[in-house]
């Protein structure tokens, strides 16, 4: 193993000495080439390189290992005893505090207790019970577009719909759509750390106040459920409450908005797929699974708890490992021709919702939101396409769509 450190062009970090020089790369996930138009294409190309590399080129994340194969990513995420999620996101640090996202920044067995507490509120059965409410919100937003022949999709629907559902589930007034859309943007995509920090401060203050007002209440909204929950027979601490509420804010809105953005961008360029789904709405479920695979978004990180051989490399205690769901979902060994969107793929064991104990708790809701969005949009509005000129822009990092101008006749 090489001992000299290596600093490729574009490096913003140094690699530690135990990392073989030939595995050190500088890959800018946030602003690298292609992230403004097709971030997944650049990510898919990583499958042509080494099984695992060490990235020193990501300004928003500490340097760390990046396994590219789906199997390696899965085995790491299924092994929380070796790969810890502690302090792996750190929204709290943005505002000078020190609470954990609950349950995302905890490990078993503590994680299991929190997960058990929250799981019933997100179960497939509970999500089916909410179907009517989700559908009503989708119809409401789509109907506002009737009579128009164009829209900026992200504002009109892509962000508005998941924020609307979030507010409804949290028992918050729907006139807050604009406010929470702005906060979501500021916290996750703010231009600089000051903007992100200001957004996070405002969200935390809002959620804390809303939580305080609901102690001892018995409504079935998520804020009331969380503040009155018990873990191992005791009430939650203030830090646990803000950690859980902030997770629902941070995990549940932007991801669905980004997925909707990529789905509608894809459909705007593929009138034949629009026609197929309009002609046979029973295909929407399979189509959503394939959209989730082709446009997986989320990356998480884990910290190595003991020296270990994993994903073909020697990792040392304390190393960070970046697990990118788009890389697993575009692994050509599991998904031939991974950039092709093929709604008939079966099985389609994509990894959009991650693996292991931290599997996205909101996955059942997210699936229903995406299916319902297509089921309610497609029959109500004519076939759409991209507007002329600069019709859209995507972003890397936490992948998403900034804007998307659609037109129809």
């Amino acid at each position: 193993m090489s001992v000299e450190t290596s600093r490729p062009a574009g490096a913003v970090h140094d690699a530690p000495p135990h990392v073989p020089g030939e595995l050190v790369r500088a890959f800018d996930f946030a602003f690298g080439s292609g992230t403004k138009s097709a971030p997944h294409v650049g990510l898919a190309a990583l499958h042509d390189g080494p099984r695992t590399f060490f990235n020193v080129g990501d300004p928003y994340n500490p340097p760390g290992w990046v396994p590219v194969r789906g199997d390696d990513i899965r085995l790491i995420l299924q092994d929380p005893a070796t790969f810890s999620a502690r302090k792996s996101v750190r929204f709290s640090a943005l505002i000078g505090e020190d609470w954990d996202l609950i349950p995302a920044e905890t490990d078993p067995p503590q994680h299991t207790d929190y997960r058990t507490m929250l799981a019933p509120a997100f179960s497939p059965k509970r999500m089916s019970d909410l179907d009517g409410r989700v559908r009503e919100r989708a119809v409401d937003l789509v109907e506002q577009l009737r009579g128009q022949t164009s829209c900026e999709f992200m504002q009109a629907f892509g962000r508005a719909f998941p924020v609307y559902i979030f507010l409804s589930l949290m028992g918050l007034p729907s006139e807050n759509i604009e406010l929470f859309s702005k906060w979501m943007h500021d916290v996750l995509h703010g231009e600089d750390m000051a903007a992100r920090s200001r957004g996070a401060t405002e969200v935390a203050a809002y959620l804390r106040k809303a939580g305080d007002e609901r102690r001892g209440q018995s409504d079935d909204d998520l804020i009331t459920i969380v503040v009155n929950s018990k873990v191992k027979g005791r009430p939650l601490t203030d830090d646990e409450i803000i950690g859980a509420l902030f997770l629902i804010f941070g995990g549940g809105i932007d991801t669905v908005a980004a997925s909707l953005g990529f789905i509608f961008l894809h459909l705007a360029r593929h009138p034949e797929l629009q026609a197929q789904l309009r002609g046979d709405p029973s295909l929407v479920g399979d189509a959503v699974e394939e959209f989730l695979r082709r446009y997986s978004l989320v990356s998480v990180r884990r910290q190595v708890l003991r020296d270990v051989e994993a994903a073909g490399v020697a990792m040392k205690q304390g190393d960070w490992v970046h697990l990118m769901t788009p890389l697993a979902s575009m692994d050509p060994d599991e998904f031939p021709d991974p950039l092709a969107l093929d709604i008939s793929r079966s099985p389609n064991r994509h990894t959009a919702f991650s693996y292991g104990p931290h599997r996205c708790i909101g996955s059942h809701l997210a699936r229903r939101e995406l299916v319902i969005a297509l089921e309610e949009w497609l029959p109500r509005l004519p076939p759409f396409r991209l507007a002329n000129g600069d019709a859209y822009r995507t972003h890397g990092g936490l992948l998403g769509v900034d804007w998307l101008n659609l037109v129809w006749d």
């Binding site: 899965r74 299924q78 799981a119 019933p120 179960s123 497939p124 059965k125 479920g285 079966s346 099985p347 389609n348 064991r349 994509h350 990894t351 919702f353 693996y355 292991g356 104990p357 599997r359 996955s363 059942h364």
Partner: protein
């Protein structure tokens, strides 16, 4: 008969088995697989394998065969 085994330590509630083969893979109230082992009639083998192959965690085996290779 066809035997289905579930590694409950691996089931994290994706619910994909139930999405593709609901009559075989019944979920508990929280959305996790509700059994560790069951047998189904031979004519349900294809459905059983389909559900096993849908599991992102690879938690389900049908007749001790690797679900990736399992015959239908």
């Amino acid at each position: 008969m066809v035997s289905i085994k579930v590694d409950k330590t691996r089931c994290t509630g994706h619910a994909r088995c139930a999405a593709v083969a609901p009559e075989i893979y019944e979920l508990d109230d929280v959305g996790y697989l509700g059994f560790e082992q069951r047998t189904v009639p031979a004519e349900q083998r294809a459905q059983a394998v389909r559900g096993a192959r849908a599991c992102p965690e690879r938690a389900i085996t049908v007749d001790d065969e690797d679900p990736d290779r399992g015959a239908t």
